[in-house]
Each structure stands twice: as C-alpha cells, then as structure tokens.
Assembly symmetry: C2
C-alpha cells in the first residue's frame, strides 16, 4: 500500500514542504506556531513502527524543523510529541510555546484554544519557514 | 558542570536504571504506566541542545524503552513527548495509553488524574521493566 495522508490531519493543517521522509505541515490553529511532521510511509502508528534508519531520518527532520522554529519564532520552549490518541497515523507535533501563550504551561492538545489565520498570514508564515529551510 | 537531576523530576518519579545516556525513571503516578528518560548531561533543555550523536543515542533509548513498554503493558498507544514547560531540564515522557484509561483520548499532562502505587506494585513493575531490558 502507498502512503495516504489522514483526512483529519489534512483538514487541520496546511502543506509546507516534503522532507525526504516526512511531509511538513502547518497547523491551521493560529494560536500556536505549530508544525506537524508525517512520515510518508503507509501503516505507521508508533515511532518504533519505522525502520531504525527511518527513525534516525525522522530525528534529523525533527531537528531541522526545530532549529528553523527556534529561528523564526524565538519560543520560550519547544513541545515535541508523538501522541496519536485521536489520529492514529504516525505524526509528530513540534509546537513553539511562549510563557505568554494562552495555554502555558499546559499542553496545547485538548486546550480548547483555537483561532484561525487571517488574510495572508498563513502563507507568509509558510514562506518564511520554507525560506529558512533552504 | 556535572549533571544534577531536577528535584521535581526526582520527587515525582522513581529510579529504574541508567541507560548509556539517560536515566530511566518510573512516574509515581499509578494511573498511567509512565516512564521518563532524562539525558544525564548538564544544562540540556531542548532536544536540539544535545549533540547530534546524543540525539541518535536518545532516539535509540526511546526505542528500547518503547519496545519494553509495548511488551510489558500492551498499550493501545504510546505517547512520547518532550515538553518541559514546567520542568525545563530535558526529559522525555513515554506513556502507555489505553482507550479505557481515565484521560483517553486526552494527554496525561495536566489531566488532574493521579493515584499512588500501593504495596509493592511499583517495585514489582520496576523489576519487570528492568528484567525486560536485559
């Protein structure tokens, strides 16, 4: 079987770029700078479902996007997580957190805090992230 | 400076064993099978603060404990996360989750769900985990 992006992940986020292993997407929730990496391999649920080589590649891609998010957003903390209790398809959250954000110090998941990007801010953000990735 | 375990992490969890990089601890919250890995390097906050070699080592240790937790607990899902909004010292949560657990499908952090281990159950669990690590 080939890789198919989960429809809920697709609906909740916007394509940024493809890394060698993962698709990089920006959450549509504007309340937090929030990237999601989805390894483009079929039937992956747990991190350990990936081959060891792919686990290292994923770690490398998490590292790469973490450094870009530190550069673009200057967060107080990065929150990195593989949860999947609601959407089983393996995906890794990388969220830039601030001591002044609405959910701090609690996690963003199930926080109920949600807002939409307005005007061209999402496109501008995606352009800024992809520029830093080059 | 040498590595010193954060007092809050120390108080909230119990020593299991030392991996080459990380100290392995069991959360004292009996509501969820919950392991915490703490890389024994001073002044680490973000995953990317570790050298790339240590990031790979940590990934290997997360993989190892994940496989043991799958074997010991047969969870419906593993939740793996580096948050650190409250305790900045770099630590990685590996939590065995069940569709029937009290917090499902929400994250365990800030869930308010907390219970203590009774009698020798914590020691038994630690013995079971360390036996599987050998």
């Amino acid at each position: 079987m080939s890789f198919v992006l989960d429809p809920r992940l697709e609906g909740d986020s916007t394509f940024v770029c493809d890394f060698p292993l993962s698709q990089v997407r920006l959450s549509n929730n504007a309340s937090f700078p929030w990237i999601i990496l989805i390894p483009r391999k079929p039937d992956m649920v747990e991190l350990v479902d990936l081959s060891w080589q792919d686990q290292i590649q994923l770690q490398s891609e998490v590292r790469q996007i973490s450094l870009v998010m530190k550069g673009v957003f200057a967060p107080d903390k990065l929150n990195i997580a593989s949860l999947g209790n609601i959407v089983p398809q393996l995906h890794i959250h990388v969220v830039a957190r601030y001591k002044a954000d609405e959910a701090w110090p609690n996690p963003v998941w199930n926080s109920g805090i949600q807002s939409g990007y307005v005007d061209g801010t999402k496109d501008n953000l995606i352009n800024e992230i992809t520029a830093q990735l080059k």
